[in-house]
Amino acid sequence: MKILVAVKRVVDYNVKVRVKADGSGVDLANVKMAMNPFCEIAVEEAVRLKEKGIASEIVAVSVGPAAAQEQLRTALALGADRAILIESDEELGSLAVAKLLKAVVDKEQSQLVILGKQAIDSDNNQTGQMLGALTGYAQGTFASKVEIAGDQINVTREIDGGLQTVALKLPAIVTTDLRLNEPRYASLPNIMKAKKKPLETLTPDALGVSTASTVKTLKVEAPATRSAGIIVKSVAELVEKLKNEAKVI
């Protein structure tokens, strides 16, 4: 089975992001970039399926600027077999990315597509679902467990207050939640091997996909800073404040 894994280049999760002074977006100058943590989990799951002998090939795909090659190399170092970069310097929305991924799915004829449930930069949580709609494949989102049984795949999903297990007919789309697995570190021998693995670069035009966006970002603002706390004198006062001021009890 061929698995396609989508990876996104985002600001490293350890970086404190700053909003640009003009409110047009987040300041990315000299900021450390990394693979989206949910995408790391997606790569790890694909590699584990390959180690179990279920997957035969893992193709990592990314949509973004030329520098996104770094994240694809990381995916290759973690165990992907080859990589595809769809190069675009535009800021693409979820739908545009989903359309591009659909084009790659059609081209590669992969049986399973694994994506992170969302990227930590825009937190949209849309691409996997949109890709499901575009391809017509079954989808299992927020996966915390994935089991392949013949031509179907059982996905345990994290839902409010519990777990739900769904059975999907292959081909299918899975989006990963945080507890699906713990991604490995790229070992030095694998980093060196990654250098020799193939990385193909495509463009949206070559795939015949229009990336024109129907959504425009008007403004980006930093969250309000937390105001200082207060110290209450007694439990009674705390209860009174929770009831009348905070109105939470």
Binding site: N14, A34, Q69, T74, Y185, L188, I191, M192
Partner: protein, 380 residues
């Protein structure tokens, strides 16, 4: 000059940074410190599994064939995490000596297990009276049938308590301060006549005093030609100094980050103390020292693996001197800007400060390297 890391170096840095971040929280470090080994054997094993213990070794010996810059990336991250593992002493310093002086049989027997992280090494070169001079050696090795007999004492052997094999310098002929006559021996940690007094150093890692009382080693335990080890000892100490500079940079960066964070958080007179210009100036001075020190660490990393020359020695001495000064300045200022909390055991800054001060006293202090630099200028 191109300071861009290659994709592989970037990934190497990411791997080590993530590994240290995940496994070396301050509380975890405290547990490692209090354990019998004084560091985390699990972390050491993980370094081995990821291939990181093989970075400083040549590909011909089964290593990664990493450059000085690759070692710099690893050491910087280990420094940032205040890691207690003897990576510098075992993989870079002792490993380098074994690689340079070892015969084909010795390399074949030992390098694979060292590269895999299964055998930890330590270097025992300094003595109580030697004061950074590698040729001040009073420990004696006397020829006996089938090998050598070692008598003497070695001081502050970092990682010596947990090493399986110790690289011990001893005089096979000549007087106590002669440059000729120094040999290097492999001594098994369980050898009869060898005793160790183990203690924690002030900045965390454990060290020991090594007492050699008629310790017998075989002919196969002599590294290189008898009496000819000094040039290799000096060369490999240069590589260790470059790695130490990188470690100091990681620690300095973290000390600066913690201090800036503290200035932005701590309130006094109703405002964060970072608003006060006098403190801003001091913070800027710390960053300036760091910015001066960083290129020196890069320079040291770039020349560390070059062929031995006076120019290389001069650059390494200069790097160490600048970094000792910067490290001490940053450590002291960071404590001053923090106030009392900067000295508490429960806060990592205090440990960075101690590490930075101690790095300035290991493998030569600033006075030693300034003098070395001045001497080399005279002959240039």
């Amino acid at each position: 000059m191109d300071f861009q890391l290659t994709e592989e170096q970037q990934m190497l840095q990411d791997t080590v940074a993530r590994l240290v971040r995940d496994s070396y929280g301050f509380e975890q470090r405290e547990q490692f410190y209090r354990s019998e080994a004084g560091f985390s054997r699990a972390f050491w094993q993980q370094l081995g599994e990821l291939g990181l213990t093989g970075v400083p070794f040549a590909e011909a010996h089964g290593g990664f064939g990493g450059s000085g810059v690759d070692s710099l990336l690893i050491m910087t991250e280990l420094g940032r995490g205040l890691c207690l593992e003897p990576y510098l002493q075992s993989q870079i310093h002792a490993g380098g000596l074994l690689q340079q002086l070892g015969g084909a049989e010795q390399r074949k027997r030992l390098l694979p297990v060292v590269i895999a992280g299964e055998l930890q090494l330590a270097v025992a070169l300094e003595e109580p009276q030697s004061h950074y001079h590698l040729h001040h050696v009073q420990t004696r090795a006397v020829r006996v049938e089938g090998g050598w007999e070692l008598c003497g004492r070695k001081a502050v052997v970092i990682g010596g308590h947990s090493a399986g094999l110790l690289l011990v310098s001893a005089r096979t002929h000549g007087e106590a301060r002669d440059e000729q006559g120094i040999s290097l021996f492999l001594v098994d940690a369980r050898a009869s006549g060898l005793s160790r007094r183990v203690y924690p150093t002030i900045d965390g890692p454990k060290a020991c005093e090594l007492y050699l009382d008629r310790v017998l080693v075989g002919d196969g335990d002599l590294l290189g030609e008898p009496g000819q080890a000094l040039p290799a000892l000096r060369y490999q100490q240069g590589r260790a100094i470059a790695a130490q500079c990188a470690e100091a940079i990681g620690s300095m960066e973290e000390a600066c980050r913690l201090t800036l964070d503290y200035l932005k958080t701590r309130q006094q007179f109703g405002t964060p103390i970072g608003k006060f210009q006098a403190l801003q100036h001091r913070m800027v001075d710390m960053r300036t020292e760091l910015e001066l020190a960083t290129p020196m660490a890069i320079l040291a990393a770039c020349v560390a693996d070059e062929a031995d020359s006076e120019e290389r020695s001069r650059r390494l001495a200069a790097a160490k001197f600048i970094i000792v000064h910067a490290g001490r300045f940053i450590a002291e200022q960071a404590i001053q800007l923090h106030g009392g909390i900067g000295m508490t055991w429960e806060y990592s800054l205090a440990h960075h400060a101690k590490r930075l001060v101690m790095l300035g006293h290991q493998l030569g202090d600033d006075d030693h390297h300034l003098e070395a630099y001045a001497q080399l200028l005279k002959t240039a």
